[in-house]
């Protein structure tokens, strides 16, 4: 799904691609370059339409009270949204929130400690540990559902919280890696200054390192959240009680019902996408502000 290292980029970066590209000077804009520019925009437009086409159904069906799989002009109605924002579907969204928040909290909190100590401390076998972190951030842990299922079932863990813990592990390595890079960038002087003031490790972390590495921690947390929010196969297998199933499973269940409510499926999916879209929008701002570490260090 939506990985990863691209978290450093985001929606607004698209808008930011305004920095001056390699363009021929205006006075050389001949007939030929005009034709070229037109071609370029045509090609882009076509690509845009191709990318937009699959989303058409989602938007049209969500406001269509007689929706089907096909794309057709909607019989406009918001009834679908009204339907999906009640009862068990709302509860599934809530489960998604619980799952994603807990998993993000675990990964981010344990991750920031690990990242700090990997960044700053002398640690035995630090090199191999870091390699292990990088390696496991590359291996998609979702392919381990079978052994994890086997282990969870033996301990009676097939429910939402142990699943949240497992999901946190699936994003933990990359979060540690990301946060370590950000903590590396926090000047060591600041930490030494705090230490000279008799600040404890916890105080140094809480008052100096964490605030300054916040953009990285936020980026890592958003990655973790999106990872848990969109996960499908892991909760499908690892969460047993029906009332603990998160929204992706509800969407999938929708699909398999004898009487599919296409409008509801589309509306629910849109609602489900909203938090992700918001997070990306918010995070892009965070990143831009974040990379400026204030003026505390060297003009």
């Amino acid at each position: 799904m939506s990985d990863v290292h691209g978290m450093l980029m985001s929606a607004d970066d698209v808008a930011e691609m305004t920095s001056d590209p390699v363009m021929p000077p205006a006075n050389r804009e001949t007939q030929r370059t005009k034709v070229r520019s037109a071609t370029l925009h045509l090609v882009l437009g076509a690509l845009g339409v191709i990318f937009l086409a699959p989303m058409l159904w989602l938007f049209l069906a969500s406001i269509d009270k007689n929706a089907s799989w096909g794309v057709e002009w909607p019989h406009f109605s918001l009834i679908n949204f009204k339907h999906v924002l009640t009862g068990s579907l709302l509860h599934s969204l809530w489960n998604s929130v619980v799952l994603a928040v807990i998993s993000t909290a675990i990964a981010s909190i344990t991750g920031v400690f690990a990242a700090y100590s990997l960044s700053r401390r002398r640690i035995p076998f630090k090199g191999p540990l870091l390699l292990f972190i990088i390696f496991s951030s590359g291996v998609p842990l979702a392919i381990m559902v079978i052994p994890v299922y086997e282990i969870f079932s033996r301990f009676g863990f097939l429910s939402i919280l142990p699943t949240a813990v497992f999901l946190s592990v699936t994003s933990l390595p990359f979060e540690v890696y990301l946060m370590k890079n950000f903590i590396d960038a926090v000047p060591i002087d600041l930490e030494e200054a705090a230490r000279m003031e008799r600040a404890s490790t916890f105080q140094v972390l809480r008052r100096v390192v964490i605030p300054l590495a916040m953009p990285g921690i936020a980026a890592a947390s958003i990655f973790g959240f999106v990872n848990a929010w969109g996960s499908f196969i892991v909760p499908l297998i690892l969460i047993s009680p029906a009332n603990q199933q998160p929204a992706p499973i509800a969407i999938y269940t929708f699909l398999t019902l004898p009487k599919a409510e296409f409008g509801n499926i589309a509306a629910y999916s849109l609602v489900f996408c909203v938090p992700v879209f918001i997070l990306y929008a918010v995070s892009s701002r965070l990143f831009r502000e974040g990379f400026v570490l204030g003026g505390g260090v060297k003009g």
Binding site: S2, D3, G6, M9, A11, D13, V14, A15, M17, P21, V22, V43, G45, L47, G48, F51, L52, A53, P54, M55, L56, W57, L58, W69, G70, V71, I106, T110, A114, Y116, S117, R121, R122, I123, L130, L131, I134, F135, S136, V139, P140, I143, M144, I146, P147, V148, E150, S168, V169, L172, G230, F232, I233, P248, L255, S269, F272, C273, V276, Y280
Partner: protein, 308 residues
């Protein structure tokens, strides 16, 4: 820096004592261990242990239901033998290969084309097209799978837009369609990453080449491509890994079908484990994926470690 000075610059009875004690011996702070433990305990318990357990599971006859669900036994290489002659596995491996290669090539090529065209496009075009591509990338896999199912089935968006409303692309060319869906869902990422890399290419380099009268293909091949190579390698590895693990998208769209056309390894592993009840055999197929991922992972580590 000065090399170790001669000992006799220091004299007096205290000297031997002085050299005996070293105050700055490499000391590990216990608190470091405390800080590391939670994260590594989680990784060991839920990554290393399951990984090792999966290796063991792959060598048993554990099933989901049936007599060996409770009383499973170690069966050694039996599952491996079965894997060797399992034609479904080999066709699944082949489909996986096509799916990964297709996804990666598509993501890199389309991502690059979009990034380089958007750089030269007008701002409103950049906003709209770039925005659409990024939204496609952000969409959770379940939703992406569903929208692709809806738009490629008969009467869906593509056939309607093309004026052949009853054509069912998904059933006619299932592997092609799911690969396209996979490209669609990852291109935003590569577009952003390569866009950033493209903006970092000094314009002087390209201008210099233009002055030397290099054709645009030559400029691409001799200047842009070499400078973009590290970024492209990273994109290739990451999208490769993501494609390998892409379960949700395909499961929603085709559940591996029709037949075994889109039954890539993660789906086949799931099918064996949970549809045919062969947990052990499913785990073994999972192990094959881990091996493939490891190959990618090693390259990934070698590339990332340089930037450590």
């Amino acid at each position: 820096m000065a090399s170790l000075p001669v000992m006799d610059t220091v004299t007096g009875p205290s000297m031997s004592e002085l050299w005996k004690t070293r105050h700055d011996k490499s000391r590990y702070q216990w608190s470091s261990l405390g800080l590391l433990t939670p994260a590594f305990a989680l990784l060991v318990l839920l990554f290393l242990v399951p990984m090792g357990f999966a290796v063991y599971l792959g060598l048993t006859n554990l099933t989901l239901v049936g007599p060996t669900a409770i009383h499973s036994a170690f069966t050694g290489m039996a599952n491996l033998e079965r894997l060797k002659s399992d034609t479904t596995f080999w066709s699944s491996l082949w489909a996986t290969g096509i799916f990964i290669v297709g996804s990666v090539v598509g993501v890199v090529v389309v991502g690059y084309v979009l990034a380089s065209l958007l750089m030269r496009a007008r701002p409103w075009m950049r906003m709209i097209v770039g925005g659409v591509v990024v939204v496609a990338w952000m969409m959770p896999a379940v939703t992406a799978g569903m929208t692709w199912y809806a738009s490629t089935t008969g009467g869906g968006a593509f056939s309607t837009l093309l004026g052949i409303p009853n054509t069912n692309f998904l059933d006619n060319d299932p592997l092609l369609v799911v690969t396209l869906a996979s490209i669609w869902s990852m291109t935003g990422f590569s577009m952003l990453v390569m866009g950033a890399a493209l903006r970092n290419i000094p314009s002087e380099a390209i201008e210099a080449a233009t002055v030397e009268n290099a054709s645009s293909w030559q400029r691409f091949r001799m200047i842009i491509l070499p400078l973009l190579r590290p970024t492209m390698t990273a994109v290739v590895l990451l999208t490769g890994l993501l494609a390998l693990a892409n379960f949700s998208l395909i499961y929603i769209m085709t559940q591996g079908g029709p037949g075994n056309a889109t039954n890539i390894l993660p789906l086949y592993s799931y099918q064996q484990a949970f549809t045919y009840n062969n947990l052990a055999y499913g785990a073994l197929i999972g192990n094959v994926m881990v091996v493939i991922a490891t190959v990618f992972g090693v390259f990934y580590v070698r590339i990332t470690a340089r930037r450590l």
